[in-house]
């Protein structure tokens, strides 16, 4: 499945600023939300204090090609990886699927270079790297493929993720049988234990 950029008109600099809804009426139904007057952005309010502007991530970090912005480059790479994984999901043979997964895997070192975006981002990319390392070339199962695709999609929608939420995504990867820790961490602890027993 491909991520499709939504064509939203550009926000004008002179557009009126957003103002939070102060109606005091909590709403949970999308149909009851209050659209904002800001052109090009739909702002949904959910109660007096909750304001949820629905801005696509591509719109939020829109930048000309070749930009040096870390987050824009990271979003591009994430899109590549997600598209490869989506192709893998649609593949007719396991070998074809694995070819696409390998291409997604190759984006991980490049994505890791943008880990300063946030520790949630870093911990997910890092865990995926170790998950692939621990698989030792074994192809992902369909469940694992779906989980990796879903986690990367969520990361792309919210790249500036706190560590806590990043770890929740890592737990989702673990739940589908991926081993997300470096294979030699256990050895380090063994060393400390054997040393302390001397």
């Amino acid at each position: 499945m491909s991520e499709t950029a939504i064509n939203i008109p550009k926000v004008q600099r002179h557009a009126p600023p957003q103002s939070p809804d102060e109606t005091g009426t909590p709403t949970t139904n999308r149909s009851e939300s209050t659209p904002s007057a800001v052109r090009g952005i739909v702002v949904e309010t959910h109660g007096a204090t909750a304001i949820a502007p629905v801005i696509e991530i591509d719109r939020l970090y829109e930048a000309p090609p070749g930009t040096s912005s870390q987050i824009v480059r990271a979003l591009e790479l994430l899109k590549q990886a997600i598209d490869f994984l989506a192709e893998a999901q649609k593949s007719n043979t396991p070998m074809e699927a694995d070819r696409f997964v390998q291409r997604a895997q190759l984006t991980l070192p490049k994505l890791f270079a943008y880990r300063s975006i946030g520790d949630g981002f870093g911990v997910i990319i890092n865990s995926l790297h170790f998950a692939f390392t621990n698989l030792r070339g074994t192809p992902l199962t369909p469940d694992q493929l779906n989980a990796v695709w879903r986690v990367l999609r969520e990361l792309r929608a919210r790249p500036v993720l706190p560590l806590e939420q990043g770890i929740q995504r890592v737990e989702e990867l673990e739940e589908c049988g991926l081993e997300v820790d470096p294979p030699d961490l256990g050895d380090l602890l063994e060393d400390a234990e054997s040393a302390s027993n001397e």
Partner: protein, 262 residues
């Protein structure tokens, strides 16, 4: 079938040794028992020991920003008070010359960051799993607060508290003091001439409990009792499940209980 009373070493193997034969064995052992009981004392020892060691390693990576320097620091510490282990030497060498087990990135600083993130993740995930690996968590310690590991603004871990509350008698004290004959048997099971510090401390703590039952059992005494706590509180229909049979078997057998390896 008997129940398993899970000791700290088994908890550690399951939570902190991913992808190792020890973890596989520990998980398989738990699966053999219908009821698996994790005393909170195991959690307390695990947090103050193995988990704290990983937190130290994490913090060293934060401070040095170098995987090579971190392994070097580790090997110096090992040389200082202990032996330098073979695999530690291998890891230090790996950090210098091999990329087999290294994390993401191209530089030593990148690899350090990859391991830092991996340790953050493992420390926090293992803490969340600690109460889920057995069928029950038992023997709560009212004098000990299970506070989750926290990352400070300086990016260093804070694992406090690692001990029970100060100025409060150990909540296990009344039960311990009510069975002086068991305490004596446990003390007799520890070799009198042992030159191991933990044996000496355990014998001393048990002696104090036997001879001075009116004295307050403080957190130091509770900590020094260590392995004896497992033998004492292990239910009659359970076995102490531990990888450290050398210490636990004599203690358990001295009071007609059993200790087993996973």
């Amino acid at each position: 079938m008997s129940d398993a009373y899970v000791e700290t070493t088994v908890l550690t193997d399951i939570l902190l040794k991913p992808k190792t034969p020890k973890q596989d064995r520990a998980k398989a052992a738990l699966a053999r028992f219908e009821n698996t009981l994790l005393p909170v004392y195991s959690i307390k020892e695990w947090k103050a020991g193995p988990l704290d060691y990983f937190a130290w390693l994490h913090d060293k990576l934060v401070v040095t920003q170098s995987l090579r320097d971190t392994f070097q620091a580790l090997s110096v510490l090992a040389r200082g008070s202990y032996r330098q282990s073979t695999s530690l030497e291998a890891l230090t060498a790996a950090a210098t010359v091999s990329r087999r087990y290294l994390g993401l990135g191209n530089s030593d600083a990148d690899h350090a960051d990859s391991y830092r993130l991996a340790l953050e993740s493992l420390i926090i995930r293992s803490w969340r799993k600690r109460r889920k690996i057995t069928t029950r968590v038992v023997d709560d310690l009212s004098c000990y607060n299970e506070v989750e590991p926290r990352l400070g603004k300086d990016r260093l871990f804070d694992l406090s508290p690692q001990q029970c509350e100060r100025d409060q008698e150990c909540c296990l004290a009344p039960q311990l003091k009510s069975r002086p004959q068991l305490l004596q048997a446990l003390r007799d099971a520890i070799p009198e001439n042992s030159d191991r510090r933990e044996d000496q401390k355990r014998r001393k703590a048990l002696k104090r409990l036997i001879k001075h039952p009116k004295e307050i059992v403080n957190r130091e005494t509770c900590r020094d009792l260590g392995d004896a706590i497992f033998a004492f509180f292990c239910p009659a229909n359970a076995v102490v499940l531990t990888t450290n049979l050398r210490d636990h078997r004599p203690l358990a057998e001295s009071i007609h209980k059993k200790a087993e390896k996973p």
